[in-house]
């Protein structure tokens, strides 16, 4: 049976069919749906881990115990998981281990556009890259077989356009792979210098073997057409090339590391001109050049952003892409009724330097709230705010972090700040969900990936255990108290935590109240909260009642100096 499937769902289906028993992941666009889809198969144990490092360690544990395992994350997640990654390459596996990593060229939802292929090379781990949903499903099975055969983890790389596109997939049955016996082997699984030295030799030998194998792998395909132009590519780019250059010969790589150098060399010599088309870094190109293969690549195509059918036609055929028109931009915004809004309104009002973090609340950087100063990576807010204070003890800065992000990697920063006698304030925006990536459970929500009730991490107690003495819990809509606490804490010479607690508005169900405007003086103050439900007109503001959540939020009512905004329910 064929079914139209999102590549991420196809990866889940591939894991299911290939007998995967354990999946551990941390959400991150564009990889999140894989694990959400895996959660629906009863035969597979699947979980959200608090971060990618833990997820990979869980996968490694399951593999060494003898099960087939999969771990999924976005590209920057692999940075977090890099420590176990480099050493599992030494140990190798027992049950097959596949690590799915989703890159985001063009940064649709990311803070950078790093190229994960370099991880494969520097950790000496083979990497495959599918070009549609069917291949994605097939490559999961391929990766697991390969992993067991060559005693290595395998990375499966996708990019946003592959991860989030749908195409037809042949659905199959699950094949069970019995648990492989675990045999104690210190020289393989206990990585200390004495054994790791031996394993480093194994890693090198294995890589040489895989390089040889890559030369004849079926997933590396040559499609001969006109030999004037030959293109070497993989993943989404393959699909674009078929569309943009229908006559070109194509070398489509299924395995992007290690490369089948000899076979590519042959291909390049058979065509008049050979070009590598790849997004981001010249990863394939430079390896070919280092091996004396004459190819072009980044002298034609950009290092930045995505490549499209139109850019390929423009660069290769001189066809100018149709230019876009000037139109007002429509950036993502904080939802109407978002509890984060109250905190950012106050931070903007107090002109604080805000060391923020990654999540929906990063949107506090947008006008008119404009209150975020720094964002680097998940968890960085805490360490950065501490560093900021140590550099300048009079700095008026605060750290702001979401609940999922705090659990992901903010706690160690807090321990550090207390331990090193910081005087910083941390605001935890606890909306009881991982909002940005589409509402995943996490240890603080008290529910598992499957929605089962479990022990709920108490953020207050965690902060207390880290040694914080001044901890306040406040409703972020309570502007008076948020302002009072921020001011008060900034004057103190100790680490303070404010837990701004209110559930994400999108999780609420049922009818909502709304606000109405009467006798507006058009002063514009309510526009400063940046609520998408409020729009300016010549006759004063108007409120879109389909978006407004009413007095529950009521920020506009609180900031209006003329009492012109009211709870619409008062009519009844």
């Amino acid at each position: 049976m064929k079914k139209l499937l999102l590549t991420n769902q196809a990866i889940a289906q591939g894991a299911y069919e290939s007998g995967v028993r354990v999946v551990s992941s941390y959400p991150g666009t564009p990889s999140t749906e894989i694990t959400e889809a895996v959660a629906k198969y009863n035969e597979v144990y699947a979980e959200w881990a608090p971060n990618e490092k833990v997820a990979l360690e869980v996968g490694i544990g399951a593999s060494i115990a003898g099960a087939r395992a999969m771990v999924c994350m976005k590209h920057v997640g692999l940075n977090v998981a890099a420590d176990p990654l480099f050493t599992i390459a030494y140990s190798g596996v027992n049950g097959g281990l596949v690590i799915v990593v989703a890159d985001d060229p063009g940064m649709h939802s990311s803070q950078n556009e790093q190229d994960s292929r370099f991880y494969a090379r520097s950790a000496h781990i083979p990497m495959v890259e599918p070009a549609d949903s069917q291949e994605a499903k097939d490559y999961v099975g391929f990766a697991l077989d390969f992993s067991e055969k060559y005693d290595t983890p395998v990375i499966l790389r996708t990019t946003t356009r592959i991860a989030h596109s749908q195409s037809f997939v042949e659905i199959g049955e699950r094949q069970e792979y019995p648990l492989r016996p675990y045999v104690k082997d210190v020289s393989k699984y206990t990585m200390m210098p004495s054994s790791a030295k031996g394993r480093h030799i194994v890693v090198e030998a294995r890589e040489n073997k895989i390089k040889e194998v890559a030369e004849t792998l079926e997933i590396n395909k040559v499609i001969y057409k006109d030999k004037k132009l030959g293109v070497i590519c993989a993943g989404a780019i393959y699909q674009y090339v078929e569309e943009a250059l229908p006559h070109a010969s194509i070398y489509k790589l299924g395995m992007v590391y290690p490369l089948p150098i000899q076979s590519l060399k042959r291909f390049a010599s058979e065509v008049d001109e050979c070009i590598v088309i790849e997004e981001l870094e010249p990863f394939i190109e430079n390896q070919l050049k280092a091996n004396g293969v004459n190819v072009k690549g980044k002298d034609i195509f950009s290092l930045q952003g995505e490549i499209t059918v139109a850019t390929i036609r423009e660069k290769m055929c001189g066809e100018k892409a149709v230019k876009g028109v000037d139109a007002p931009v429509r950036p993502p915004i904080m939802c109407a009724g978002c509890p984060h809004r109250g905190v950012f309104y106050i931070l903007n009002k107090l002109r604080c330097v805000v060391n923020a973090d990654i999540g929906c609340y990063t949107l506090g950087a947008q006008a008119p709230l404009s209150s975020v100063d720094t964002v680097i990576c998940m968890g960085a807010s805490v360490g950065m705010a501490h560093g900021f204070r140590k550099a300048n003890k009079d700095a008026k800065n605060v750290a702001v972090i979401g609940d999922s992000t705090f659990i992901h990697s903010g706690i160690t920063g807090l321990i550090n700040a207390v331990y090193n006698k910081s005087a910083m304030t941390l605001i935890i925006l606890d909306n009881s969900t991982t909002g940005m990536t589409g509402h995943q459970e996490h240890p603080g929500t008290g529910k598992t990936l499957q929605g089962d009730i479990t022990s709920k991490l108490d953020l207050y107690q965690i902060c207390k255990a880290c040694g914080v003495e001044k901890i306040d819990v406040v409703d972020p809509y309570d502007l008076v108290n948020v302002e009072r606490l921020v001011k008060e804490n900034m004057a103190r010479q100790e680490v303070c935590v404010i837990i701004a607690k209110r559930e994400c508005e999108l999780l609420k169900k049922g009818a909502k109240p709304y606000c109405k405007v009467e006798d507006c003086k058009n002063c514009g103050l309510c526009l400063r909260i940046g609520c998408p439900a409020i729009a300016k007109t010549d006759k004063g503001v108007k409120i879109d009642k389909s978006l407004c959540v009413g007095v529950d939020c009521g920020l506009c009512i609180k900031v209006c100096p003329f009492n012109s905004i009211k709870d619409a329910r008062e009519d009844n």
């Binding site: 699909q239 993502p332 939802c335």
Partner: protein, 188 residues
């Protein structure tokens, strides 16, 4: 067939592409869909690509490659017009949603969208919200749009109707079938 669906995050464009994907399946075509999840869904500008035919490679439509743009909001139709083929058509929901820069007065919502687009390509402006409310539920707005597209492109109505049946929850089926028909009939 290249269909570009544009709108504002949260407008329910994903159901539209699901129905069109089903239609392609029923019609026996190869099909690819592409959508961006994540950040853009927070009220940002969203684009979904639907492509079907004998064989489809790229899941993404390129500039100048769309046969039709199905726009859930006027400014988004305006923004993505360069994706339309010269011979392409646009079905536009006659609705304005102000982006934040317009709300705070940093930008102006263009007031000539209708004339400017109609002057260039074949367009149909419909009031999808009103039609959906009459059909029984404003949320069926996306299916009203599918109805209009079905007429504009001369697709098989019965197949589209079956695609709707297979894509929406049974309890909303009647409303959605009515929305499909009313959307279809809204095109003269």
């Amino acid at each position: 067939m290249n269909i570009l669906i544009v709108g504002v995050g949260g407008q329910g464009t994903l159901l539209t592409s699901k129905v069109l994907g089903k239609y392609a399946e029923l019609a026996g075509f190869d099909c690819k869909l592409s959508e961006v999840h994540g950040m853009a869904q927070r009220g940002g500008s969203v684009v979904t690509h639907v492509r079907f035919g004998k064989k489809v490679y790229s899941p993404i439509i390129w500039e100048g490659g769309a046969d039709i743009i199905l726009a859930f909001e006027k400014l988004e139709a305006f923004r993505y017009q360069n994706y339309l083929k010269e011979s392409g058509v646009m079905v536009i929901n006659d609705m304005e949603i102000y982006p934040m820069p317009v709300i705070i007065g940093a930008a102006v919502y263009p007031d000539t969208i209708k004339d400017s687009l109609s002057g260039k390509v074949k367009t149909a402006f419909i009031n999808a919200a009103e039609i959906a409310i009459k059909a029984g539920n404003i949320k069926a707005l996306n299916i009203v749009m599918v109805g209009a597209l079905t007429k504009m492109l001369g697709f098989d109505f019965d197949k589209m109707s079956q695609a709707v049946t297979e894509s929406v929850p049974p309890k909303f089926l009647d409303v959605n079938q009515k929305a499909l028909l009313d959307g279809y009939n809204s095109i003269g």
